[in-house]
């Protein structure tokens, strides 16, 4: 049948502009990522520490003497969240590296920006993807762990002096997830290849961690901790949950300032890179 014999229906029911315009972007990207079995496997593995910690809480409540080896208190949640940082990095490498890089490669960015969307909507929509994934492996299991602790050891955790744990979990989970997501998205915006962006993000995170280790252990420079984003995040967690880690012992303001400056730099880079028109002068 010739193409001009086929129907085309006009659409007259145009409504007002949506208030929340970024959500379809996040939803569709999450749907694509979660359709990959390997990624689902990684997500499942990210919950293993949660299972282990729940078992730990259970064992300590049944056998209190085990608490001497595996103490169950507020620090448990800080240790748990600090461990989850590694998973947020892995999830961001596989889940966020292509988010903007692929759009730059295939011209998909024009599909978004030629619509009634602002660049902020686009960035928010894309940022929502790693943020949702990272919160799923930090906030969700940490709150689950807290709920498990409350139900298994109510005498210990239903105490006013431990009421800070809930807000601390929410705060640290958001700091970890937001920072890692923003950094991964920015690296993705700097390349047209998801693979290159993934490797660059991996190199940035683990390269700086290596630099920290060398400077701290080789040259005895304790302040070198701030060069590693992972160490900055862990240090904030340690300050928040009262963990004693001599390697990360630094006033919380220093790592917080580093993370804030890097986040602002990321936003500036995204502002430059996310454009419908590439201007080469």
């Amino acid at each position: 049948m010739p193409i001009y014999d086929q129907g085309y229906r006009r659409y007259e029911a145009r409504g007002p502009l949506r208030q929340v315009r970024f959500w379809p972007i996040t939803r569709e990207a999450l749907r694509l990522i979660l359709s990959k079995r390997a990624f689902l496997g990684l997500l499942a593995v990210s919950f293993l520490p949660f299972v282990v910690r729940v078992i730990q809480v259970y064992v300590v409540t049944r056998f209190p003497e085990a608490g001497r080896v595996l103490p169950v208190d507020g620090r448990l949640f800080g240790q748990f969240l600090n461990m989850q940082i590694g998973f947020t990095i892995l999830l961001s490498i596989f889940g966020a590296s292509g988010l903007i890089a692929n759009d730059l490669r295939t011209g998909g960015i024009l599909v978004y920006l030629s619509r009634p969307l602002t660049r902020r909507d686009y960035v928010l929509g894309k940022l929502g993807v790693p943020l949702a994934l990272n919160l799923a492996v930090t906030l969700v299991p940490a709150l689950g762990l807290y709920a498990a602790a409350l139900s298994l050891a109510p005498d210990q955790f239903f105490a006013w002096e431990l009421a800070w744990i809930g807000p601390a979990i929410v705060l640290h989970s958001f700091v970890i997830s937001l920072f890692v997501s923003l950094l991964a998205l920015t690296v993705s915006a700097l390349s047209r290849s998801a693979r290159v962006a993934g490797l660059a993000f991996f190199g940035l995170i683990f390269g700086l961690e290596m630099v920290r280790v060398v400077l701290q252990h080789g040259f005895g420079r304790r302040e070198a901790m701030v060069v590693s984003f992972q160490a900055d995040l862990r240090s904030l967690g340690s300050s928040l949950f009262g963990l004693a880690d001599p390697e990360l012992a630094m006033h919380w303001a220093a790592p917080a300032a580093v993370l804030l400056v890097v986040s602002l730099a990321c936003l500036a880079i995204l502002r430059v890179r996310v454009r419908a028109v590439e201007i080469v002068t």
């Binding site: 295939t106 998909g108 978004y112 030629s114 969307l117 002068t281």
Partner: protein
Amino acid sequence: MTDEAAPLVQFQDLAVSYGLVQALAGVSGGFPPGPTGLLGPNGAGKTTLLKTLLGFLDPDRGRMAAFGLDPTKQALEVRRRLGYMPEQDCHLPGMTASAFVAFAGELSGLPRDEAISRSHEVLYYVGLGEARYRNVETYSTGMKQRAKLAQALVHDPDLLLLDEPTNGLDPQGREEMLALIKDVATRRGMSLILCSHLLRDVERVCENVIVLNQGQVARTGTIRDLTGPRRQAFDVRFKGDATGVLTDLKDLGGDWRDGEDGFRLFLPEGQGPDTIFRLAKECGVQVRHLRPGAETLEDVFLAALGHEIQG
């Protein structure tokens, strides 16, 4: 413009630059309802004009209004009423055509159910019905062009912007794409701007044209107004130095330009091929080949641009 209806898009003294490069140097004009061609050689400023209309670029000076709205200040409202088919490849990796087009519709503000329903309809309309569940990345160039058109059509825009829609297509694919665009414009009554450097493409679809050259409007009007009564043209090959013939022809009120193989001569009204033979005889050159033809839009276009795009 012969169309009496108010222009959908108007621009006045519009200047846009990329750093030091002036892409549009104070252009004025408008796009009336219906299909309008935006013609010009590469680098003329056609795509810049479209991107300014989409609100991607801020003008250095001048004003632009689309549907009575300012694209720089009300970009979202303007974009909602536009459908844009970019020149370059554009698809979303990992998506089937139906998911891609439905997603594009949803981004344009359609409710999800309606976007899905319309994506199937539009994909059938552009001839991708049977292939709509295939990943767009596996499509041929022609199919990708159709998918691009579908994503621009899915929300039923008031004005469709087509930037070089036949790029990379084989002759058959090009014919089909032009037939489709013509159908959108004539049978579906959708206004569109067809941006192309291929004059025959514009001639097939549009009545009105704006010719841009070096960031300025070279000509504007209906194709009929632009071309006037087309002059009689002949493709001629001479043996010997034809400079004298060409000069005498100009003196008679005719014109010429380099052809693919020889010269294309345009005779003044009332003159026939015997004029060419007479002039050749007077100048002592032989006519080795003479083929009659009509003046094409390309000839008019070149005349409008002062032959600046030759070579």
